[in-house]
């Protein structure tokens, strides 16, 4: 047993010794086979992993590409301005509106988006727009004015009944990561932009397969010669991929991944698809939380114009930004951007994209960027909050961000701009006059159409373009005396009249389960018996508490619920004096009942929502519900006009011009309120401080002044005089029937004139009722 292995060992050894090369060959063969196997296996594995990775890249880039292609934030439009004969509008106001929409003043009206003043009017080349009811092609019109009215409209020398300006874009619901865009289809992309992009960024775009070696070499050469980074080596496709996955890491791995994805994109999609995607996607700047993506939005943001209206120098300016949106930010670095723009114009010329004449002209043009409130949908964040709240009942956040919805709203940009300016200016003036810390006062305002409840403007604070705390919707502050017309309404609906007596005398109330309460008048005085109208006009607290007690707290609170749709938070008599927190928007809803002539008309901001193709998804009709009979509403409004003429509103320059309203002041002058309306607009204004400290302002010295400033822009549209068979002259101090000859009288509807007592010495015959009463009087 022991020998056998030795023998074999010897034999093997002998063999090896005899053929040493054979052993090596065996090893080599074995190694070769082994390596082949390993390589094959590794290769197979690599192919598997590689294809998996490629599949992953393909999925990821294609999905992103497709997703971005159709993921369009909802566009929100303001109300379009209607033009028609008889409209209250001046030539100057129309031109302001045209400029707001980015129309340029020029003698050459051959292109849409232009206007030219003429004697007594203005000629306009309107842009085409797809309105919610129908599309309207671009058209040239002439608008003539007489004084402050639009006199007539002409289209192709024929009279025109009415026409609309296209509505301003006031915002969009871009996703939380902030990317906003306006999607363009290939046919909407100007040829100069497409060709210019290729000339400047990627000369071989039409030939390459996603990357370009010659491009890289050429860029390197150009950059080497000029000594600066004039050209990038990345193709447009690579830039597109890069912008999909915005990241700053500069690694070989990322570069390779980008390259692979570019090749995949080129294999999967056409050149036109890729170029269009690039034009819609590329990052062009940052506007607060909002990232400006794509040339469509870029044109709006930087030039307040649609892309197809940009001349050569503005297209060149946009292209110049691509290379570094913050380095070439035209607002912050105009000179630098201008230099680059001109180099790009030179390239345009050299490539034959523009003529020498156009080049000559373009080089001489300033950058022309406009920082207008409307640029690229400049955003009225306060109003947009309201739109968001209204839409949230029907649409998901995702719908709003990706479905390309078109949302038509009620905002009137001129009214909004004026109200915002009035707030900023007036608060500054008040602070200065009262030596208060600048910026300490805040305000908000809601302005609606009296008949439809449509919100024309919503001011959420002093700074209109800052998306901060929205006081118009979210600030809940005690409304003070602004609530008093509700008590009077309840009184008029019982058997009381404007002439009925209330007692302005000290009172202490102890409600069940409540603390005892001793209200006081603002001036600390008491005035004894007086008619309801005077108590309301002078806003006498004690008289109003007396009236509230006569009518009953529950009656008044039930009426509150009828008019605004919820139960008051404060169940105690202090409710009579407005110890009830409300937002300006809620107060607007309450006053909408009065201003509309007796209909609950909740403030609304959305008119309709259309899908991307323009098919209606929802229409939000006028919401009116009768809550007060017409006669009583008319009567109440007549009283509120007297508040302006004789009471706490009399300091207003518009007090005697057919306006109605009521002031309010909360305890220690923390909140200053005014709610007022004329024939067409209802405005609710609040002034106060965010820290809720006293301001020293009453409703009259704060909010009313702000309302005056808001009303001054257009002037009031006077309320029609009340039509009532029951108008009676009553003495303001006593409520006795009298004439203007013998007393200081006010004229108000009195439902039962028979109940009026006659003022002696006025030569009036007592009514039948009065005479009967005198017979039975003991």
């Amino acid at each position: 047993m022991a020998k056998k292995p030795a023998t074999r060992r010897r034999t093997t050894k002998a063999k090896t010794t005899s053929s040493g090369q054979g052993w090596l060959a065996t090893l080599r063969r074995w190694l070769f086979r082994f390596l082949l196997k390993v390589t094959l296996w590794a290769g197979l594995l690599a192919v598997l992993v590689g294809s998996g990775y490629l599949y992953y890249l393909d999925r990821s880039i294609s999905k992103t590409f497709e997703g971005r292609r159709w993921s369009v934030p909802a566009q929100v439009y303001a109300q379009p301005m209607e033009l028609y004969a008889g409209k209250r509008l001046t030539n100057a106001q129309l031109q302001v509106e045209l400029r707001r929409l980015g129309y340029r003043q020029t003698a050459d009206l051959s292109k849409p988006g232009s206007f030219q003043p003429i004697a007594g009017g203005v000629s306009i080349h309107l842009r085409a727009f797809s309105f919610m009811d129908s599309p309207r092609p671009s058209m040239r019109i002439t608008v003539m004015f007489v004084g402050n009215r639009l006199q007539r409209l002409k289209y192709a020398d024929r009279p025109l009944d009415l026409v609309r300006l296209e509505p301003a874009v006031i915002g969009s619901f871009f996703p939380s990561h902030g990317e906003d865009r306006v999607i363009l289809t290939p046919d909407k992309v100007p040829a100069l932009l497409a060709d210019g992009l290729k000339a400047v960024e990627d000369r071989a775009f039409d030939e390459h397969q996603g990357f370009s070696v010659t491009g890289i070499l050429r860029a390197a050469l150009v950059n080497f010669r000029s000594g600066e980074a004039r050209q990038g080596g990345s193709t447009l496709t690579q830039q597109l991929v890069k912008s999909y996955f915005l990241t700053n890491e500069r690694t070989i791995e990322r570069k390779l991944r980008e390259l692979a994805m570019s090749v995949i994109l080129e294999l999967r999609f056409t050149k036109e698809d890729i170029l269009t995607a690039y034009i819609n996607e590329i990052f062009l700047g940052q506007n607060g939380a909002r990232a400006i993506h794509g040339f469509g939005l870029g044109a709006q943001y930087y030039f307040n114009k649609p892309l197809n209206e940009l001349p050569a120098h503005q297209i060149a300016a946009l292209i110049s930004i691509i290379r570094g949106p913050s380095y070439y930010n035209p607002f912050r670095h105009p000179q630098r951007t201008l230099r680059r723009r001109n180099r790009i114009l030179d390239t345009f010329l050299a490539d034959g994209l523009i003529s020498t004449a156009i080049h000559q002209d373009a080089i001489g043009q300033p950058l022309g960027v406009v920082d207008s409130p409307n640029s690229g949908g400049a955003y009225y964040p306060a109003f947009m909050d309201l739109v968001r709240i209204e839409l949230s009942e029907r649409y998901s956040a995702d719908d709003l961000r990706t479905q390309g919805l078109r949302i038509f709203t009620t905002l009137n940009p001129a009214v909004q701009a004026n109200a915002q300016q009035a707030v900023s200016t007036t608060l500054g003036v008040i602070e200065k006059e009262r030596r208060q810390e600048p910026g300490s006062l805040q305000a908000s305002a809601v302005i609606t159409d009296t008949q439809t409840g449509e919100v024309l403007a919503l001011v959420g604070g002093r700074q209109g373009r800052v998306d901060g705390f929205n006081r118009g919707i979210n600030a809940q502050r005690p409304v003070g005396s602004v609530i008093k017309p509700l008590i009077v309404l309840s009184a008029l609906e019982s058997d009381l009249e404007w002439s009925s007596a209330v007692n302005d005398a000290a009172i202490t109330l102890t409600p069940p389960n409540g603390e005892s309460w001793s209200p006081r008048n603002y001036d600390g005085k008491t005035r004894g018996e007086l008619p309801i109208i005077k108590a309301l006009a002078l806003s006498l607290n004690l008289a109003m508490v007396d009236l509230g007690n006569q009518v009953g707290l529950s009656t008044v609170q039930n009426r509150f619920r009828d008019l605004v749709g919820y139960t008051p938070k404060n169940p105690y008599p202090s409710f009579f004096l407005g110890a009830e927190p409300m937002s300006p928007l809620q107060l607007t809803e309450l006053y909408g009942n009065f201003a509309s002539g007796g209909f609950r008309t909740p403030p609304k901001s959305v008119i309709a929502v259309l899908d991307e193709q323009g098919a209606p998804l929802s229409h939000h009709p006028f919401d009116v519900t009768q809550t007060i009979d017409v006669e009583t509403a008319t009567s109440l409004n007549a009283g509120l006009q007297l508040v302006m003429q004789r009471g706490t509103g009399r300091s207003s320059p518009f007090a005697k011009q057919g306006v109605a309203g009521k002031t309010g002041t909360s305890n220690d002058n923390r909140d200053s309120w005014f709610a007022g309306f004329d024939n067409s607009r209802l405005s609710v204004v609040w002034v106060g401080r965010d820290d809720n400290k006293p301001t020293g302002l009453t409703g009259t010295s704060g909010a009313l002044r702000l309302w005056n400033a808001i009303t001054r822009f257009d002037g009031p549209d006077p309320l029609l005089p009340p039509i009532s068979e029951n108008l009676q002259s009553i003495e303001y101090d006593t409520g006795l029937q009298a004439t203007a000859k013998c007393a200081d009288v006010v004229v108000l509807p009195i439902r039962q004139p028979d109940t009026l007592q006659v003022k002696p010495g006025c030569g009036l015959k007592p009514s039948l009722g009065e005479r009967l009463r005198s017979i039975f009087r003991p």
Binding site: Q79, E82, P159, D161, T450, H619, P621, F622, Q626
Partner: protein
């Protein structure tokens, strides 16, 4: 403006006015299914219209004469809305009428037609409130009052409140269509 166009324009407005008269009569007596003005008619010879008016006048009791909206803009929109109502497109009519209301918010006639458009859509509650609004805005204008109340009667009828509808019709002197 040349002299020629205002006169044609005036004629057109006049035609709208006459047609509105017919419209109210149709609306009241047939449950509100008549809309007469087609925007396409604008360019057609005027002669085609009166025939239609006379026909409807001959068949139906005289209608209250309602003055058209003050502005020709609102008149135009009202005419287009009436076409849409006739073409059974109440949604379109609502958009046009709301546009007209923004121009003349206190024109009762526009609210009457809005009420009808919502009724055609089956929104009786909105139709009801819009008819109430029309009544409130009609004020002391008797013919507008009548037309607004008769629209309310149509709404009542759709709500199955036949006796309420009947009462209104008796009060305003029009039989049910």
């Amino acid at each position: 403006m040349t002299a020629r166009y205002p006169s044609i324009h005036g004629l057109f407005n006049g035609a709208i006015f006459v047609l509105l008269v017919a419209l109210v009569s149709g609306c009241a007596s047939t449950g509100g299914n008549v809309g007469v003005i087609d925007s396409k008619d604008r360019d057609k010879p005027q002669a085609t219209k009166p025939t239609r008016v006379e026909k409807s006048k001959a068949e139906k009791p005289p209608a209250p004469v309602i003055a058209p909206p003050r502005s020709s803009a609102a008149q135009t929109l009202l005419a287009r809305a009436n076409t849409a109502l006739r073409d059974e497109e109440p949604g379109t009519a609502i958009v046009l009428l709301e546009r007209a209301v923004r121009i003349e918010p206190r024109e009762a006639q526009l609210w009457i037609r809005l009420s009808k458009a919502h009724l055609d859509q089956g929104d009786t509650q909105i139709a009801f409130q819009h008819a109430r609004k029309a009544i409130a805005l009609a004020g002391s204008e008797r013919n507008k009052q009548t037309a607004a109340w008769l629209q309310l009667a149509n709404v009542y009828e759709a709500q199955g409140r036949n006796s309420d509808a009947q009462n209104i019709r008796q009060r305003y002197g029009r039989g049910s269509g």
